[in-house]
Amino acid sequence: MQRYIARRFLQSLLAIWVMSLVVFTLARFSGNPLDVMLPLEATAEDYDRVSKHWGLDKPLYTQYGIFLTRALQGDFGMSWKWPGRSAMDLVWERLPATLQLAGFALLVSVVIALPIGVLSAVKKGTPWDTAAKIIALMGQSLPGFWLGIVLMWIFAVHLGWFPTSGRGGLQYMILPAITLGWFQVAAIMRLVRSSMLEVLDSEFVKLTRIKGLAEWKVVWKHCLRNAAIAPITFFAIIAGVLMTGSVVTESVFSWPGTGLLVIDAVRARDFQVVQAVVIVFAGIFILTNLLVDILYAYLDPRIRLR
């Protein structure tokens, strides 16, 4: 077990390192940073001086070393688009909004997916089950950004139930959360359905029935509690997906989170900020993956041996 965790941990570090390498290489690809920093009338000596000051005269691997040490300390340089702010500051400032939205979206998708999943397992093979299958299929096929626009059109523009964009009270969060959570509904639903089917077939469920318990109590209390284990371990994966999915949703609803920040930064070619967001997100994404794997390995010994 320890060996498995150690191996997965190293693998995750490796993945983050590759990401940093990609980011660094691309940053250098995007052109000489000096051309952006210096005014047009700068002389050759100016170039020399400034490049010495920023360490750009050193060989690339030394530069990468400097970048890596700074990045490890959370220093990605100053933003170009938002002058006077460091890239990391901006990320920390926007992160709570993203986490709030992702958390709420997770809640919404569970609230939608759980009953449907249970229902389709209990009523397997009936029209209910077919309807659930169709919902799952739609979940995989609907482009999130378009769903957001459609929801906005119907519920914000026509019916006026919710505001169209921005961040405020609960009513601001509902449409973005549905948009973000929609894709997960299908995944959670199918997981709930398959594990419910397994549990419904087990001995202790028969016992509860023999005992004469009401059917709703059998299903919603005894079965669901046992069927919930598999989907729960899946949540960390979802958390990772929600983080990256927030880029699209936040851009549709102008939700002032990290996703919107990175989009604005890309448009302004503010590479420092893009770097910071990408590394932070990649870190969260990769670490949640790691946590899930470890959790799974605890629950299912077969995985450890792979």
């Binding site: 693998q11 490796l14 990609v22 691309l26 739609m138 448009r267 893009v274």
Partner: protein, 298 residues
Amino acid sequence: MATVTVRTLPWYAAPRVAHAMRRVRRWPLVPLVILTFLLVIPALLAPQVAPHDPLKGSLSKRLKAPAWLEGGSIEYPLGTDKMGRDLLSRMIYGARVSLAVSAVAIFVGGAIGTTLGLMSGYFGGRIDGLIMRLVDISLSLPTILLALVLVAAVGPSFWTVITVLVVLLWARYARLVRGETLSIKERDFIARARVAGASHTRIMTKYLFPNVVNSLIVLATLQVGYVILLESALSFLGAGLPRPTPAWGLMVADGRELIVSAWWVSMFPGLAIMLTVLALNLLGDWLRDRLDPKLRNV
């Protein structure tokens, strides 16, 4: 002596029709029809079917409503966008863009993945370890962010999108092909080929590859929908194809600010994406069940 005449039933006779129907039913009709009319015909015959130029518009005709609404005309069946370009024509060319992007990305990604997967499974050992680590890493990279970094660095273009998609896609092929290769290479005909003096390259291309093609086709079909969805999301974010390419994702993005006054601009392209991806998913599921049921978990 009575002569027995064998009369063939006419084609419209009930048993024949029933038989034909049964044959047809085995095909996933709905997805195939949707795909033909939404993706294949428009993509292949765009210049012939599109009523207008997808890039040229006239400002006097901007934001015209679809034909069945007030202010619409049959000349622009689905209305026009804010540059006065015909929406239907742009969507038809958009099918071409979607198909081109997904075909190129899946072909390149599939080729790289298959080659590496074959090598990984066939040679084993160090090569296998290295390639499989690469697969793990590439599967754990966050997609959209990778695309955003690349676009921030080099700007949006067709090849930027292809690069991002290929980086993302190859790993699944590599993993799949490696798994299949591992089991196939133990079989007798491979050993025989080796005894007969076939080179490694020859064994891989002539003996192993033909045996993994089925799985490759299934995976590729299942991925077309995913790739179309991803490409449109990237284009929507401005990290995909550059304007004024008539890409479906870009068209949805263009219509976003117009949602109050001209809902059709983003509604129809989005509908096209959804139906296409839906049909591709159905077709992929069907193919998987027919050709390769063990792929269920891929």
